[in-house]
């Protein structure tokens, strides 16, 4: 879809929605009699029974784990990103709508010269899944070219050095991969995997929430509202049964 078409379609939607009710909506009168759970109302946890769908190559998983575990290493505060399921989380996300960039505008800019000034942040024509495919290849190629070994075989100190270089824009990756932008994508996804509800496959045993003291999907805080300046030590609660 072209950006102008997209914008026009928003306008069209605005004008028609007031007049026409969406055909797909179910109309309820009175109140629903049934209270039993039906299968299509249940949350669907990201289950890894079938193995990885996007990161099918072992070497890709090793590179990603090497990067993620430097971003969130295992220490006295909690498990590392890969131990907390961030790879599984990311694989599940990339296998679905997020990986396909369904919510993203993926056509080229109409006026490339104005792009950065108008948008204020980098824009991509690749889907997140494609960016990982190219990005991991580029990291591997970079390690082989500079250090002569596979990326995952690098020392933690050397990986830190490379990641810092990417973050600061001082290292350019091969095949046109923008190093700074790929670093930011990985950092963002590692955080999401570590802190999103366990429903999505990461944040295993709610380790991320326990680390920062986030109580999760609790319904009601009235019992605690008066208890200020105190560590409440609340057990976090997930959207799916995690007990």
């Amino acid at each position: 879809m072209k950006r102008r078409d997209l914008l026009r379609s928003f306008g069209a939607a605005m004008t028609t929605s007031a007049l026409v009710s969406p055909a797909a909506a179910a109309e309820l009168k009175g109140f629903p009699e049934q209270t039993a759970m039906s299968a299509d109302h249940l949350p669907r946890p990201a289950m890894k029974g079938g193995g990885f769908q996007v990161f099918t190559q072992e070497n890709d998983r090793k590179i990603l784990a090497a990067v993620f575990d430097r971003l969130i290493p295992s220490d006295k505060f909690g498990p590392s990103a890969s131990e907390a399921g961030c790879l599984e989380f990311l694989d599940d996300q990339l296998a679905g709508r997020y990986g396909e960039g369904r919510a993203l505008y993926l056509e080229g800019p109409v006026r490339p010269e104005n792009e950065e000034a108008i948008m204020g942040s980098p824009q991509f024509t690749q889907t997140p899944r494609q960016r990982y495919e190219d990005g991991l290849k580029a990291l591997e190629a970079y390690a082989k070219a500079t250090d002569g070994v596979a990326f995952h075989a690098l020392s933690p100190g050397r990986i830190d050095e490379i990641l810092s270089g990417l973050e600061e824009g001082k290292i350019e990756l091969p095949n046109g991969v923008k190093g700074k932008w790929f670093f930011e994508l990985m950092l963002q996804n590692a955080r999401e995997g570590y802190l999103a509800d366990p429903l999505y496959g990461g944040n295993r045993d709610m380790a991320g929430w326990k680390m920062i003291g986030f109580p999760g999907a609790r319904y009601d805080y009235r019992p605690y509202i008066e208890r200020q300046g105190e560590n409440l030590k609340l057990e976090p609660v997930s959207l799916i049964p995690k007990d």
Binding site: M37, P45, P198, Y219, D243
Partner: protein, 438 residues
């Protein structure tokens, strides 16, 4: 439902009894002399009452008896078609509109009296799913009024073969003659002169049209209500009809007659909230009771001597294991039921001092946990608040522990709930298993 298993097994035994032929014995239980007060010439299809007062009284009698609960389904008002699944086949409620071919249009008033009060229908003996054993208590006046009301019902052509889905030998209506001989008390309501009018009116409603004992009394091996445990609570398989005697632990001991009246008229007395089959009874029947009648029912029930049920030994809830359960209560239940088990008045049941939930039979609580439940929707309380299902979220042990906690907190005392009971009901209701998680 368990009741139906018992009734079905009873029918098998009774078929033999009937075959032996206890002629003289049969004479009393099948005697229809009480119907002699009714006209036996005009068919319902040829009659339309113009006595507005009688029609209105008759509609009220219909509400007391809750006829529409079974006889009104999607086929039209009173056109029948409600399927009652039993282990012995399916029974279907009949078409009681004045249609001559498929309804009761060819019945005379006398035939109608025979069907409602004696269990003798136009196609033979009625099954005890029709509570004629209770309706036997209906006064002649109420029956005449009900007849007048039924004449105003729009005829619907809807053919029903009530017992075609019943398996042999349960499809033989004559077998019910034997059941009647053993269990049918063929006598009308007797006023007790030593009690006041409200008490007598209450007993008339409870034992007659209200047919409360149909669920709230336990049944014996042959599917008949046990008089010795009258209104002391009955298990219906997937639900439990609580003790209605003045037992202070599991019955109505701490409720006032007015509390009971409020419950019947609105679906809640401020502590308990009607759900399940009782919500249906409130919606279709008891919310239409007059203030005087609702209070009369309360007055009568409060006069019943307390059952012998004792509270179970108190289960300590201050153990470390139970404190984990307390957290589960806080997270899953407290938003509506309150941290003190106080509920939301008239909308969400309290647990504190909600004695209907403290019986040794915890079926209702287990059912609500597995499939959720909905409060009665009445004129006075329109919210019909829903309780969500937790079958997908908790296993049998977790549900059992949570209920044991609730039944022993805030001053409550009740027997612990067994995980095996939760498992049995989970299977029976075809509720889902606890969800597998990554």
């Amino acid at each position: 439902m368990a009741n139906w298993k018992k009734i079905g097994a009873g029918i098998a035994v009774i078929a033999v009894v009937a075959a032996i032929g206890a002629g003289g014995w049969a004479w009393h239980s099948l005697n229809t002399v009480a119907s002699n007060v009714a006209d036996d010439t005009t068919r319902l299809a040829d009659f339309k009452s113009t006595d507005q007062a009688a029609i209105e009284r008759g509609e009220y009698v219909m509400r007391l008896g809750d006829c529409s609960a079974c006889h009104t389904r999607e086929n039209g008002k009173f056109a029948g078609g409600y399927e009652i699944g039993t282990p012995f086949g399916t029974l279907v409620s009949s078409n009681i509109t004045p249609d001559a071919g498929t309804g009761i249009g060819s019945m005379t008033e006398r035939d109608f009296f025979n069907a409602v009060r004696q269990g003798i229908g136009q196609h033979g003996m009625l099954y005890p799913a029709m509570p004629f054993t209770a309706y036997r208590k209906f006064s002649d006046q109420d029956m005449h009024d009900l007849w007048a009301y039924m004449s105003t019902v729009t005829p619907v052509k809807h053919d029903i073969d009530e017992n075609a889905g019943m398996k042999f030998p349960y499809n033989i209506r004559l077998a019910m003659a034997g059941w009647d001989m053993l269990f049918f008390d063929n006598s009308g309501f007797r006023v007790d002169g030593s009690k006041d009018d409200a008490w007598n009116r209450g007993k008339y409603i409870v034992d007659g049209g209200g047919h409360c004992a149909a669920c709230h009394s336990p049944r014996n091996m042959l599917g008949a209500e046990m008089g010795s445990a009258y209104l002391q609570g009955g298990n219906l398989g997937e639900w439990f009809a609580p003790d209605l005697t003045s037992n202070p632990h599991a019955g109505l001991g701490t409720a006032s007659a007015q509390d009971i009246a409020n419950y019947l008229q609105t679906g809640s007395d401020g502590v308990a909230v009607a759900a399940g089959p009782m919500a249906e009874a409130v919606e279709h029947s008891t919310q239409y009771f007059s203030k005087a009648d609702a209070l009369a029912v309360g007055t009568y029930l409060k006069s019943l001597p307390a059952s012998a049920t004792q509270p179970g030994p108190v289960q300590p809830v201050d153990t470390p294991a139970m404190q984990k359960v307390a957290l589960a209560y806080e997270v899953n239940c407290s938003a509506c039921h309150g941290l003190g088990g106080e509920g939301i008045e008239g909308m969400v049941p309290a647990f504190k001092a909600n004695h209907g939930l403290l019986s040794s039979d915890a079926t209702n609580m287990i059912h609500a946990m597995l499939q959720g439940a909905r409060a009665a929707h009445t004129h006075d309380r329109q919210t019909a608040a829903g309780m969500p299902a937790f079958d997908w979220k908790m296993d049998d042990r977790q549900i059992a522990d949570l209920l044991t906690f609730v039944r022993n907190s805030w001053g409550n005392t009740a027997t612990p709930v067994a995980a095996s009971d939760v498992g049995r009901l989970r299977e029976f209701l075809k509720a889902s298993k606890k969800m597998a998680t990554p």
